[in-house]
Each structure stands twice: as structure tokens, then as C-alpha cells.
Symmetry: C5
Subunit: 373 residues, 5 copies
């Protein structure tokens, strides 16, 4: 009986942690000072440098940052610097100096709470930061966001990611090394596209998990399952709204990139960005339809609960309406008056049973016509 | 009594299937690789080629794709390639090469989850994809969306549809062959209009079915029918919102086509597209008024349920308020005190009945003044 | 007791009829084919031709359509063709040919489900269609929409209306014939304004009826009237939202007409159109405030119902809390134990009454402090 | 017990009167005919003419309208015509002719239901109409709107107001006469600003009254006062929404006046209008925060009511759960079986009391652990 | 039992005080007259003058306002006038004359209820007013807003703040004096940025407090804590909405400052303003996610309450359904009929106990199958 009253369960916990994790910048710190605010991380930052063109590809783990200096602009070689770990602000700062990146840009790279944004810098490079979504636990689905940033220069791309268990850009590297495909033939703008594409494809994966979870939850809602609490639905709703909030800004960022006037993206590559934009729209659309579904499941669940409540009340009323008159009747003949003719009657007792049977049948009939039974 | 508690029923099932059907693209696949993600289909793709101008019309089933090559641009002949089936990606790819279509365009042709969209290509053709709605079951109405795409070139139209039981464009073909009407006299832009018109007209048909269903449901809501669960209304609401989501983008697509500057649509044909636009608006308007109606029916249903609950509570209260005092009174005279003067009275028993009758009448009167009876 | 459970009543019926009345166009029909989809009408279409300028006015019922040909452009005479009845599509088609109207324009004239719209045609005339609202029944107010269309040419106005009991434009005709007022002195643009003005003035009339009804309903809501069901309020709400939906597009249409660049409306007449626009805004504003009022009445009604429910529950609880202890007490002394000292006491019976009186008083006092009584 | 069920009270009444006061224009009347639609007024219209410049000021009650003719344009004198009363349409019409005002402008002056609006006339004057808000009663606050209009010409301002107990523009007149302040030194645009400023300042006064009322109501909501009905809160909400609706259009009107291109407002005076705009924004902002507060009070009140209902149900359940078992137990020993060993026991009666005490204590303990007591 | 019924508590009080604190301007006062409307303050206004360039810095408390005159424009020295206290309107007025500030600007400086706004003045300075948020009490969090204004001239910045316990700009002063950092090297535009940055950083601090509070509240909601009233959640919601209302206008103000065309902000400083803009967006984003969280907690809390109510009703029904039949049965054998064969039976009494046990078990079984127990 007490089961439904129990605490909503632990599935709401991770969310709040996420929403208030950031630390405030020290008021005495001058703006532009790098402060990493994500979780504590023990691992060292890993930096890979991949250099390629149509003819060759070189991939090496960087030991000293001095090796990372950008290739001279004229040379027909594209450099991809894959920085895995943003908690060592000193390293980031050095890199920034090497590539002449604005301190405020670096601040955004290490600020894991920063919203996705796109910024063009006068020095000719563009900066882009967004969120990779990871499924932390499957049931209930709990998402975490990884802060990912990109700098696109004339002949290089730098990608920054938080140090997690694995490098998310491995598939692109694999494709680069496997064969001379579109990525090798095109410029750094196409490489950036390929990296973004990995992130967006990953959204579909996350949606699939959310969809599976929704599927199971829907089955339970429809079956009127008892151990389903509304809180599970609210948790799902919140994960969806977190995902939406993280992905939504991508829409504007990509549409800004697609618009012609900006020279960083070559004309032949624009259709790929447009395709990416379509995918983001599809992701947002799916999220919206999931949100609608969750809202609809909440409605169905509430109506199931309300039906049960009605059923409880009807049961109570039927019991009361049947037994109260009966109890009254037997009470009457429990009175101790000296002169009660019925008590003396030979079949009085049986008559009373007859009357009570009639009352009961009458009541049942009455409730049947009212469709309560 | 348990009837209302039963599971919401199977009518919600198909929706969830639909919303999560897509498959994720393999992360290792390079963008532009065609992946069909719709249901498995055993039938082979059927391709028809219709060639016509005001003088003649030729209609043939295509056996080898090589026959499908576009007519030379100068020749005064319009080619309509009607591709029925998009699950054979190899075939689609070959066709794409023949007509020099962008790989990303072909990706959208076979991606059955893609949202309706319109895209202009530099090579002079335009691409348009939308959803044909089918009524899968009539009661409850369950819609399914068929992915339909069009390519409009200078002298050809290619239409793609999923392989279903029948070709949806048969009426246009029939009209083309029947007589030298507007379609034969005009260019491929008018043909495209005629094909789109079929799809939009079909929306009216779907709305009619939804309207019939709403009609029946409304009758039941107004009659306060017992076996109506809110879930039916929620299912209707969701079908309407699915339909709206599928049709809504058409609005922008058509208004973009109508705007003057684009040369693919001849000036004389523009009014027809404008008419189509009006029809789409009418469809959306009707959907909105249906949604409002459903919302209003939900309100009425909830108020009916709440009235019943009130009625149950009143019944309970009336029974309790009448029988509790009576049971108390008979209890009093069931006490075994040695000195209870009333018990000895000659007509005590009848007096008690009198008192009880008065109490009952008083209660009934009280509840009448409170309008509970 | 069952009164509140009764069916919501017939006042919701007419609405649904209205919302699904249209018929679907035959899929085989080529676009531009006229199909009348309104209710069946037995009467013949009536056509009047009024010709006037400042000097003279001629008004005649048209027998043969050939008489209807437009006056030569140079001649200083304004022709008003008042077509009363749009169900004879043949006649409309003939008229269309005479005045060189686009077939799609004619389609909109006879499509009684078409939304209000304004369209400029290259041939120099403009087309305008809107809804005349009629009050079908006063209590509950039920509106019906009449499809009215206008064509404004350089020297003529054609007005189309559904064949109803009376011609809605009679007042304008009366004013035209009565004296040489503004209408006679100005061009066809002013005539169009006068006709539109009639339609908009009529909206005020309809609002007045709705307002009267709201007034009565509000009195009943405030009096807490029993026979008021929420459904009446929902029906009012829906009528208001139907009216809003029909009138809303007028706003954009008129503001489009007012904007300078369009030459069909003379500069001196523009202020009148601006005035009309203001009136439409006032109508929409009033509808919005009525909608707010209805929403507020729904809130008040729901809170009245909830107060009553509370009152029922309190009554039940008070009865239970008073009589349950009493019944228990009398039950105690109804036990048949051989050794029960109280039973032997001389005034035991009276003591028990005393205790019961104290319990009752205590309970009443308790409920008074809790403000339940 | 019945107190809460009583009718919502009279505070809702005035609102409905207001919303439907307008009368419909006669359908046979040609547009531009002046029709006063406000309440019947017995007093005569009062017209003051104030003429001033930096050197002098003359203030006189106008007896004959002929004295009101505008001063010649060249003369360095500003005329302010303060018309107090708009129900004598004849007088308004004469004034209109004298100052060459458009008949439709005059129609808006006397149409007390007209929404606030700003209109520029080709003849070089601008027309502005808005609402002065008056507090009709303080508890509950009930607002009424006075229709106020202004015409700003090159060297004159005409102000129109409904005939009420006092002239609302007295403070401006007092300031004009008191000393040679900013108003005397500036042109008619500054005078208009001063008049508008009075109206806007008055909004703050009205808000203060509403705020006081809200304050008292909030105290009662928080104290869980019994005699507070939701309807008072709904009435407050409606007054706020009426005020908002009346003031909102001012925002656009003023921002239109501020924009540079319009020559009626001198550049030095523009900052004052911008200040006025800020004040209007502050008023709207305060109204919005009041609306939020009312919404929040409704939530608190509903949750208080729901807590009480819960408390009632718990009381009922506790009484039932304690006394039902007890009544059952005493019932058992009230049975008349011949062989019931307990009845013969010496201390049976006391044992039963012991058992009942244990049941009671157990129940109380149970409800305590469930936190119901 | 009465605990939940108690008054919502004092946490709602401070809010209402805040929302109605402003006083109305006297209607007879001419616009531009300074009126301080904040709380009464006994302290004297403190004015500091800081003058600096890359070489030197001078910081002095101003004794006489005449010392405050701006430095001549050509001199390479930046003046920062830090005015701490805005209740002495005479002093503000004098300052205004010295720096040639518009009276309306000064009015906004002292009007503590003024919304945040940005205004450009023709005389070349810009004016900016916003709100510093302070946490008045931590549990429940209660915010107060301090009115802060800035004037940015060609070579000076004036900052105005309400006289509170401490000067909020101390950290900037400390940074200025500590070393020759970015602030000393840049112009007054960078100084303004540094001051604004302090205010915005402070928002993060406030959010952190709100987040901590939310954290604790969430724990209690999830634990189903009894002493949590909805009102605490509503109070949190209101604080969040107050904060949002105060911060929201900053968004537009900053984006207006960033746009190129305005010359007050040097090109090199613009990225810092853009960074500030990003921070404001992050603050607003966090507020929105907090609001969503509060809404979700309200949902969870309501569903917990509703679950409890259900549990109460089920308990009542189970008790009634078990004991009503039992009481009826014992009542039957309490009847005093002379001929009741069961009473004479040797084991009648035990049979009855058997029957009652069966009824009880049956009931329990019935409720188990219905999942009520």
C-alpha cells in the first residue's frame, strides 16, 4: 500500500548535479584568465598531430608543444591537431600563443559550461564550440554533455575535447588513413565537416537510446503498470529538454556557416554543411516528437490514476450503500423493547433475511443502472 | 467496475513504432553513402518512363536504366520518370549518375525519415521531398507517411515513391493519356504541380476520414459513453499532430516556389502553385480546428468524469448521513441497561420508528435544499 | 442527483457539422474545375446590375448574362453586379468568361470553405473573399458563415454571396438610391469599401448577440446555478474561436490594401479603408476580451464545483466523526457480558447519554475550530 | 459550512458591463457619421481656450465656437483648446470644420470604445487617442477607462476628454500659469508631452491602488483566510488584464513618435517623449509582475485548499479506521449465542476494553508512522 | 494533522514589499525633477575620484564637488568618478551640471525602480543603467536589486550605486592599483567593461546561492518530506523570475553596444563586450534551466501529494470494505428474535468467527488482486 508513496527514486539525482556544476570566476581575476571548471581529471592531456594531403598522411602523438607549430600557409598540407583533454590550462594557453588565438577564445575552450557558439575572428580563423552527448546510464537514460571545440584556420583544424575514456574522433582518423576519400581530397573545411558530422551522428545514437527507453516506458504506461511513477516520465522529459537545449544553438550556427558570404567554407563543401543542417533539424524534430510523446504518456498515466481513484471511490460507496442499510436493519431487531411484535413472529428472522436480500438486490440493481458496477 | 481500469488499448501502439523507426547511419560510413532505412520490402522497384508533348504521348515500363537517359535539352519533349520503390539504393545511385544528381540529394530520396524540404541545385534542377499520408486503419484512425520526392529539371520530372500496393500518381497519368488538357500543353513545371496536387488532394481525403472518426467520437463524448477512454482522444490528437508536422513544411516550400525570382516555374503556372498553397493552408487550418475540437472534447469528457465523481461522493454522503444516525438510534435501544424507561413503554418501539422517520425526512429535506438530491 | 450527469446537450452539435462540411475534389478532376461544396440550394441565382454615377442610377434584375457585359472602360459609369447565389457553377463560369476572370479565382468564389484572402491579378482587378457571419440561433448562440467574394475592376465591382433569405447588401443599394452621397461621388473602390463596411458592421451585431449571451451566462455562473454545465461555456468558447478564425485574416488583407503602392484604391479613399481596419481590430479585440471572460468564467465555475465537492466531503466527515464514536459507545453497552457493572447502575443509562452529549459537543467544537462548520 | 458555496459576489459585475457597452453603428448610416456611444451625460460640454507664449498667457472659457478659430500660423502664440465632454457630436463636428479635421478623426474622438491609436494626417496634424484610467471603487479595485484624444497642429493642441467630475488636465494648466517653465518656453509638442505625461503618471497612481489591494489580498492568502474566494483573485487578474490591454498600444504609439523622421516633434523635445516611453514600459512591467504575483497567489490558494481537502480526508479515514474495528468488537459481544465462553468470564468485559485500547493505540501508531497525524 | 494547513509561512513576504516600493511622482512636478524613491538612507554620499593612465594612478575621496570637474579632453588621463549613494538628489544635480548631463538622465540615475536601459546622447556620452543583485537571506533565498548606473564619456566614466554596506567596485579599483594590467593600458571603454563584468560575475554568485537552495529543496521533494510546502517552490520560482526580469534587458543592451557603428567602444575592446554578452546569455540560460527544474519539482511534489491522497482513500476503502460486512454479521446475531436456530447451535459462535475470517480473507484477496494492498 505504501509502495506508491515511496521516494521518487534516484533517477532525478544526476540532473541537478549537472545543472549547477560550474564554478564562479574569481571576482579579482582579470577577464581572459583561463579557468577550467569541469570535473577533476587525473589523466594527462593527449595531443595528436595529423598532417595529410591527397598524396600522404602522417599521424603522430605530440610530445612537445613546439612540434605543433602550424605549417607555413603556402605548403599544400593540412594539419589536424586533436587535443584530448582541456583541464591543463597551461598547455591550452601555450597552444593559443603558437596559433595566435585570442585569450577569450581559449577561455571558451576550457569553460565546459559554455553554450554552443560560432565566432569569426578577424585573424581569419573561426571558432566553434558544441556539446557531444554521452549516455551515462541506459535505464533510466541519463545524458552527460562533453564540451567540444574547433578552430578552423586556413590550413589547419584544431579540435578540443574533454579527456574521457576514448577519443570520439577515431572514426574520422580511421577513414583518413584507410583510403584517399573525399576527406583527403578536400580542404580543412571538409575535415571540420567530417568532425562535426561525427558529433551529429552521435546525437542519433543518443536519440535511439532515448527512444528505446521511451518504448519500454510506453508499454508500462499502457499496461497501467503499478510500479511506474510519474517521476520516471518527468526525468525522461528533462533529459529530452537538456538534449534540446544543447543541440538547439547548432541550428543557427550551421545556417550562419552555410550563408554564402563567409569565405572559410569552400563552395563545393557547402552542400555537406547543408546536409548536416538537415540532420540537426531532423534530430530536433525527433526530440520534439519525443517530448510530445512523453507529454501524451503523462496524460495517459494521469488518466489511468484518476480512473483508479474513481474506481476506489465507487467501491467504497457501493460497500457503504449496501451494508449501511443492512446494519441498520439488524440493529433494529437488536433493540431491547419489551413490546416488539416482530420478535415474537415464528418466521420473523427469515422475513428479515428476505428484506435484507431485497435491499441488497435493489442496491445492486441501482448501481448497475448507474453503471457503477 | 474494473472496466475503466483496463489498459488504454492497442490504439497507441502504431505511433511509437513510427516515431522510432529510423536507423542510425554507421559512424564509419562517409557522408553521401545511400542507406535505405524504411521497412523491408520484397518487391522490385518499378520504373515507368512517360514522354509527351502536345502532339504525342509514350508510356513504357523501363527494363534497363540506360533507356532512362534524359532527352536532349533542345528536343520539345517532356520526360516523366516515375520511380516506384526507393529501397534498391543501387538503382537510385545509377539513376543519379545518369541525371547528374548530387549524392546528398539521393541520400534524401532514400531517407524515409527526412523532413519535407525544397532545395535548388546549381545545376539548374530543383529537389522537393514531402510526405504522402495514408490511412492505415479507420477506427481508430492510424496514419502512415509515405516518403515522396521529386526532381524537376529543364525538360523532365523524376518522381520517387515508396513501393506500396499502388502507384499514387495513376490519376495524373490517366489525365495525361485521356486528352490534350492543360498538363499536355504546359511544361514540366505544370506536371510537377499536377503531381503535388494529387498529394495535397489526398490530404483532404485523410482529413475526411479523421473528421468522420471525430464525428463518431464526439457523439460518444456527448452521450457520456462509458467505454470511451481518454486515450482514444489522445490518440486522435497525436495523429492530428503527426499530420500537422508532416504537412506544415509544405507551406514554406510552396511560398518559396511562388516567389518570382526563381526561373524553374513559368509565370503562367505560378497561379496554380498559389492555388496549391491555398489548399495546403486550408488543410492546416482544418487540422487546427480539429485539434481545437479534440481539446474541447477532452475538456467535456473530463468534466463529465468529474461530474460522475461528484455524484458518487454525494451518494456516499447521503447514505452515510441518513443511516449513521438511524444506526445510532437503534444502537441506543440495543443497550442492556437495567434501568431504561423507554424499553418498558408500551409504544416505545413505534415511537422510535417515528423518530427515525423524522430524522430520515429531515435529512432528505436538508439535502434537497443543498440540491444534492 | 443524476441531473449533472446528463449528456452535455445538443448545443455542441452544429459546430461539428460545420467543421467537416466540405467535400473533397475528385482526384481525377483537373485543377480549375468549379465544384460547389456548400449546402444544397433549390433557389435560382439572382443577379442584379446597378449602374450609377453622380448624375444617374439604374438598377435592374439581370435576365440573360449577356446583358452583364462590363461597360467600356472610358465611359464614366460604375457597374455593380450583385450575384446572389454561387451554387450554379455554370452561370459563374459564364460570368467569369465575360469579365475575363481566372478559373482559379472562380474556383475560390464557389469554394465555400475557402479562407478569407486577397489576391491581385495581373489583368488589373483584385479579388477578395471573406465571411459574413450569421447568428443561426440565439440561445445558445450558434454562428454560421456565409462565403462572400468581391472582384474590383477599374470601373466595376462584382459581389458574390450565397443564396440566403435576404440580400445582405440591400442597405448599400438603398443608400445609393436615396441620395447623391459619398458613394455616388466616388469610384468603385469606395463602393467596395461600403460593401465591406456592411460585412464588418455585421460582425459588431454578431458580437452583441454573443455579448448578451455571455451576460446571461455570467449571471448564472455567479449565482452558482445548478443547471449550468461547463459545456455551455465550452460551446461559447468555440463559437468565439470560430468567429476569430474567420475574421482574423481580414486584418492582413486590409493592411495590404492600405499600403500605398497599390493603385486600385484611390488616395482619398484610403482613410476609409484605414477606418475599416480599425473596426476589424476593434472586433478582434472584443473577441479576445470575450475569450478571456469565458476563460475566467470557466475558472469561476470550476472553483464553485470544487467548493461544493469540498463541502460534500466535509459533511461526510462531520457525520462520520460524530456518529461513529456514538455508535461505538452504544455498542459497548449492548454487549452481553455477565459482569458489566455499569449496566447495573441506577443512572447508568443517563450517564451514557451525558457522555455521548459531551462527545458530540466536543466534536462540534473541534470542527468549529477547524472552520469546517 | 455553506459559506464557501455562496455566490462569488458582486465584484465581477462591473467588468461585464464594461466589455459590452458599445452600441452598433446603424447599418444604414454612411461611414463618417459621428455617433457617441458612451454613457448618457446630462452636463454640457465645457471648452477652454488657453493661449500662451513665453511672454503671456490667456485662459478663457469659450462661449461660442467661433472664438475657437486657430491663430494664424505665423503668429508666435500657442493655442490649447481643452474640450471637456464628447457627447455633443454637433459641437465636435463644428470644431472639426473650424480646424479642418477629417470626419473619420472626429468619429474616433467620440467613439469611446476605440482602441488607443496614433495617426498622421496629410494636412500636417497628428491625432492621438488613449485611455485615462480611473479607480471606480477601491475594494475590490474596479477600473474605468476614460476616452481621451489629442490633435497636435503646427501651433495648437486640442485635447478631448469625457465629461467627468473634474478636468484631468488642471495640473498642466496650473503649471502653465504658475511660472515661465519648460512648457511655456517650448512649442505645442512639449505641451502635448505634458498632457500625455499627466495620463501616464495617473497610471502609476492606479497601479499603486492595485498594489495596495494586492498587498491585502496576499496577506489573506498567506493567512489561509477562509472568506477569501478565488473569485477575488480572478477579478484582480481581470482588472490587470484590462489595464494592460488599454495601455499596451501606447508603447508602439510613442516609439513611432520618437523615431526621427517625423517633423511634428522637435528634436529637443524627443528626449522627453523617450522618457515617457520608458515610463510606459515601467507601467507595463509592473502590471506584468502583478499578473505573475496574482497567478502565484492563485497557485498558493489552490494548494491551501487542496491541503485542507487532504486534511479532511485524513480525518475521515482516521475516524473510520479507529472506530470501525472497535464497533465490530463490541458488536461481537453483543451477539446472543447461547454458548459464548467469553461472556461468562469474570473479567471478560475488562479484557475487551483492553483489546480495544490496544487496537486504538495500534491504529494511532500506524497513522503516526504514515505521518497522517 | 494540522501541520499542512498552517499558513504558507513568511518566505513570500519580502517579494511583495519589493514589487510595490516605488512612489509616484507628484503630478504637479514638472518632468525632469529628480525624485529619489528608494529606501530612506542616513549615510552621506561618498564620491571617489580615480585618475589614471599607463604611467600613474591617483585615487582620492572627493570633498567638494568642484574638484570633480572633468579633465580637459586632450589630456591623456582617464577619470573614474565612483559615486556611492544616489539619495542626495542635490549632489547628483550639481554633478550633472558639471558634466553637462541631461536632466532626464539624472532622473533615471536616482529612479531606483527604472528598468535596465542603454541610451546614447548627442553630446557624445552614453548612459547605462542596470541592477546589481544581492542575496538578502540565504534560506529561503531572497534577492534584492541595487540600482547601478554608468556614464561613459570620451575620457571619463561615472559610476553611480546605491549607498550599501560596501562599495561593489572595490575589486576593479584594487586591480587598477595593483599593477599596470589591461585596464590601465586601455581607455574608459575598457574600464566600463571591467565594472560591468563585476556586476555580471556577481550574477553567477547569486545563481550559485539559488542553485544550492534548489539542491536542498530537491532533496526534500525527492524524499517526500512532509514539512515542504508548495509555497517554498513558488517562492523560488518567483525569485528566479525576478532575477530574469532584471537581467534580461542586458542582453539587448550589450548586443547594441557590440554592433560596430557606435564609436564609444574601441574595436579592440569589442571582443570583451562580446564575452560579457556570452556570460549574460549563460546566466539567462542557467536561470531558464533552474526555472524548468522548479517546474519539474512542482510536478513531482504534486504527484507525491496525489499519491498520498490515493493511499488515504484506499486505506479508508479497505477498512470500510472489511469491517462493514463483519459488523453486519455480528449485528445479525445480536438480533433478539425468539426463533433463531443458529443461536442455539453448540458451535454457532465459532462458525460465525469462521465465516468472518473467510470474509476478511476474501476481501484481502480481492484487494490484493486489485493491487490496492
Amino acid at each position: 500500500m505504501d509502495k506508491e508513496e515511496s521516494a521518487p527514486g534516484p533517477e532525478l539525482r544526476p540532473l541537478i548535479q549537472k545543472t549547477k556544476r560550474y564554478k564562479r570566476r574569481n571576482l579579482l581575476t582579470s577577464p581572459g584568465t583561463l579557468t577550467y571548471i569541469g570535473p577533476e581529471i587525473a589523466l594527462k592531456t593527449k595531443v595528436r598531430r595529423i598532417q595529410y594531403n591527397e598524396q600522404m598522411i602522417r599521424d603522430e602523438a605530440v610530445k612537445s608543444l613546439n612540434e605543433c607549430a602550424p605549417a607555413p600557409v603556402g605548403e599544400p598540407i593540412i594539419t589536424w591537431l586533436d587535443v584530448d583533454g582541456i583541464h591543463e590550462t597551461g598547455l591550452i594557453e601555450k597552444l593559443g600563443k603558437l596559433y595566435q588565438l585570442h585569450p577569450l577564445l581559449l577561455e571558451d575552450v576550457v569553460n565546459t559550461e559554455h553554450k554552443p557558439k560560432l565566432e569569426f575572428y578577424d585573424s581569419g580563423h573561426l571558432f566553434l564550440t558544441l556539446k557531444m552527448l554521452h549516455v551515462e546510464s541506459e535505464n533510466p537514460v541519463c545524458l552527460s554533455a562533453e564540451h567540444v571545440s574547433f578552430v578552423l584556420g586556413t590550413n589547419y583544424v584544431i579540435s578540443f575535447q574533454e579527456e574521457r575514456n576514448s577519443d570520439i574522433f577515431t572514426p574520422v582518423l580511421a577513414r583518413l588513413e584507410a583510403s584517399v576519400g573525399k576527406t583527403r581530397r578536400n580542404g580543412p573545411d571538409y575535415l571540420l565537416f567530417a568532425l562535426l558530422d561525427i558529433v551529429v551522428d552521435n546525437y542519433f545514437l543518443v536519440l535511439e537510446k532515448l527512444g528505446d527507453n521511451l518504448d519500454v516506458t510506453e508499454d508500462r504506461v499502457i499496461a497501467g503498470s503499478d510500479d511506474l511513477s510519474l517521476n520516471e516520465l518527468y526525468a525522461l522529459k528533462r533529459e529530452l529538454s537538456v538534449a534540446r537545449r544543447q543541440i538547439w544553438p547548432l541550428r543557427d550556427m550551421l545556417s550562419q556557416l552555410i550563408r554564402e558570404e563567409n569565405s572559410q567554407i569552400a563552395k563545393e563543401v557547402v552542400p555537406y554543411y547543408r546536409d548536416l543542417y538537415d540532420h540537426v533539424m531532423q534530430v530536433l524534430d525527433t526530440i520534439d516528437s519525443y517530448r510530445e510523446l512523453v507529454a501524451s504518456l503523462v496524460d495517459v498515466h494521469l488518466s489511468t490514476i484518476s480512473n483508479r481513484m474513481n474506481s476506489v471511490m465507487k467501491t467504497l460507496t457501493i460497500f457503504s450503500a449496501i451494508f449501511m442499510p443492512l446494519t441498520f436493519i439488524v440493529g433494529v431487531y437488536g433493540m431491547n423493547f419489551e413490546y416488539m411484535p416482530e420478535l415474537k413472529m415464528r418466521y420473523g428472522y427469515y422475513y428479515v433475511w428476505g428484506i435484507m436480500a431485497m435491499v441488497t438486490v435493489g442496491m445492486i440493481f441501482y448501481f448497475r443502472t448507474k453503471k457503477w458496477m
